[in-house]
């Protein structure tokens, strides 16, 4: 009797383990080429971010909605592959069979920043974009009890105190950092960048009065804007709805680096498969539920088809290259 219970326990253990690791199935098997049957098994979506992170949320929601539009009742399964700022996941995608069963939910950084930094073996046109999804516009946040009330007063303050204003970004070469550096250079401002692990860590430090500002995505800032503790003073887009803030457009500055997310397939995926995937995601992207989500995180929807998405990736790649050179991060 004792032995039986023991064996049972172990059997349960093994069962659970196999359930947990279900997401790591093997996708390299041959799939056949019958176009009409695509997809005939679940499609793996590589997410180069930690579970629970902001892009991971978006990827999970979008794939869940897109699943309904897949033929043959098939499904997507998310695989979080972290490491090397996304290099591991995107390399995995590049080496995957272009059969449509492995795709990735990537971002601007994968096609515009990483290729310049020397560690990645891929570049802006190493993948086949499926669709451009959305992009949040970064904001420069300050505390509402700061000695300046709007952008102009802030600018005066910074000019009077060079090198004093410290702001959080997610590190040199990050989208938040590149946008701030580009503006600071145009306006000839001397600011102090402090690197944090993520947007919410920067917000925490700002709330705790350890630093003076933070460049973050709206999803990290919204709650605090509405609570009245923080306010945006600059929006890195062409226009802004915030009273005390200015935008790139207000200062007649060119576009910054958009923090877009984009779905990628390996290069060489057959037209038919690409179309099935694109249609499924486009429908999900346009659904009411997804619109509600992007509105709730204050991101703008920037749908682009595969061709235009590629153009957009290449342009951003060149823009970022120039900024990184100015920063002295690359030669």
């Amino acid at each position: 009797m004792k032995k039986i219970t023991g064996v049972l326990m172990l059997a349960i253990l093994v069962l659970i383990i196999s359930a947990c690791s279900g997401k790591t199935g093997d996708n390299s098997k041959d799939t056949g080429s019958g176009e009409a049957d695509f997809p005939e098994k679940p499609i793996t979506v590589l997410v180069p971010y930690a579970p629970g992170s902001f892009p991971d949320n978006s990827a999970r929601l979008l794939t869940q909605l897109a699943e309904k539009n897949l033929p043959n009742n098939q499904s997507f399964k998310i695989e979080n592959v972290e490491g090397g700022g996304g290099i591991i996941a995107m390399t995995q995608l590049m080496n995957a069979k272009p059969d449509g069963y492995t795709i990735a939910y990537g971002s601007v950084s994968h096609v515009s920043v990483l290729p310049h930094m020397g560690d990645a073996t891929f570049t802006h046109d190493s993948f086949q974009p499926i669709m451009k999804d959305f992009a949040p516009i970064p904001l420069l946040m300050v505390r509402t009890d700061a000695p300046y009330n709007n952008f102009d007063e802030w600018k005066e303050y910074v000019e009077a105190n060079p090198g004093k204003f410290s702001y959080a970004t997610t590190g040199p070469g990050s989208i938040s950092n590149l946008n701030m550096v580009a503006v600071a250079k145009e306006l000839n401002l001397d600011l102090k960048n402090i690197s944090y692990e993520g947007g919410s860590q920067g917000i925490t430090a700002l709330l705790g009065k350890n630093i003076d500002g933070a460049v973050v995505m709206p999803s990290d800032a919204l709650e605090h804007i509405e609570a009245g503790t923080l306010k945006p003073i600059f929006e890195f887009g062409q226009e802004t709805e915030y009273e005390d803030a200015k935008s790139l457009g207000d200062l007649s500055l060119p576009d910054g680096v958009q923090a877009f997310s984009m779905l990628f397939a390996p290069k060489g995926i057959p037209e038919a498969e690409l179309e099935v995937l694109h249609d499924a995601f486009k429908k999900a992207h346009e659904s009411e539920e997804y619109k509600k989500y992007t509105e709730s995180i204050n991101a703008k929807q920037f749908y682009l088809n595969p061709e235009d998405a590629q153009k957009n990736a290449t342009e951003t790649h060149d823009l970022v290259g120039g900024l990184l050179k100015d920063l002295g991060l690359i030669d």
Partner: protein
Amino acid sequence: MSFLDFDFTTLFTLSNLMAIFLGTIVGLIIGALPGLGATMAVIFLLPFTYTMDPVAAVLLLLAAFQAAEYGGSISAITLGIPGTPAAVATAQDGIPLARNESPGKALGISLNASVIGGVVGALCLIFLTEPFANFALRLSDPEFFLLGVMGLIAVASISTKGEMTKSLISVVLGLMVGTIGMDMFTGQPRFIMGQLELMEGLGIVALLVGIFAIPEILRVVKDDLHTQFASQASNLSTKLTGKDMKRIAKPSGVGSIIGTISGLLPGLGTVAAAWFSYIAAKKISKSPETFGKGNPEGIAAPESANNASVGGALIPLFALGIPGSVGIAVVMSAFIVHGIQPGPRIFTKDPTLTYGILYGFLLTTVALYIVGRLLTPLFARILVVPNSFLMPIVYVVAIVGGFSATSRYFDIWLSLILGLISLLFVLSRFSIAAFVMAFVLSPVIEVGLRRSLLISGGSYSIFLTRPFSLVFLIIIILMLMTPVFRKMGERRKRNKLENN
């Protein structure tokens, strides 16, 4: 609406209670598997929450989180393989008590302490959210740096007599291994030896599997594979006597308070909670010399602390919308998918839902106690299985667990290589616990120090001008001076004796 006006009938619905119990069972089992912890449990359950109603969805995850923190001690106590860095502290006394006295008793203490910790954490979350959140905001990089240093001194102070040098070597190695990966201030990779997989540092799960599971399995194989850990089923009862309960009350209380506060601080979290409370329990214990040899207080303190830290970690989430760890970030994503934004206004915007979740979180501790009492004896039974069956299964489970955390084959190799290296360490009696603690604290200390100095423009006065930082600095000096004072006192006493 205040917390007393809450309509409890909205909480006690079938779907909410089902979610809590299911979450508890899944969390306990996943937590008990070596290599898989609370974070894995919530990630595993996340997809199921999308179709549930918001309160049940969040409660499912919170119940799993709560139960997995307890479950982590099961593999530490029964198999000698701590699945989480926090369980390393539990293992110090859990393993000796389980092997020498009774595995049931060790698990029973762990369960009761976990429930106490869970209740304290939940009560703090319900009643003290605002003051605690304000307190958390006042602690930043200078304080994190000093807390990290305090942790290192504490680790050195628990090393066994005569092994101090080896402990210090372990600490230094842990600090060094902790620097592997990208330097976040410059973006430059450090010591990655061309392996992009190392860009974000050594994976903690792969590391734990490597340095605990593999040497333990090899040690059992080397000794005698044809025995079993426990031969008598009578030792498996998790029921505690009144005397036991009385004994663990004080360390559990201390652990709960330390756990809640550590949970508030991102980066430190459950690991620091477990170790600080272990050390505190040893300091206040009547028999500190039995710590490390199977003292129940040494199990109660860290176990209550890691469960209390869950409630603590939820405070910044509810009050400020800030997730302190990956696990909490996953819970937060369940909020967001349901259109709820955690943050300062959640109490006024969605009071029914918010208080439903808070009181439901308190209920998860009740569920943990019931499910724990039912399932734990089954886990204790694992030790009755002959090692020749048990060890191969543990081996596979540990490796799969290590792999599933990141889905990278690289991590399997990493575990195997680290396993062989740490076997040599174990055989030459170096402290693996000190190594892990230093490894976990290494980034806290480095980032804390460097960012403090970046903000202050290179001036060390930042550590003296902030009130909490100054207090921590004084505590550190006292910690360092205590042995010196003690020695001086002893010498004076001896001189007196000689003079007489």
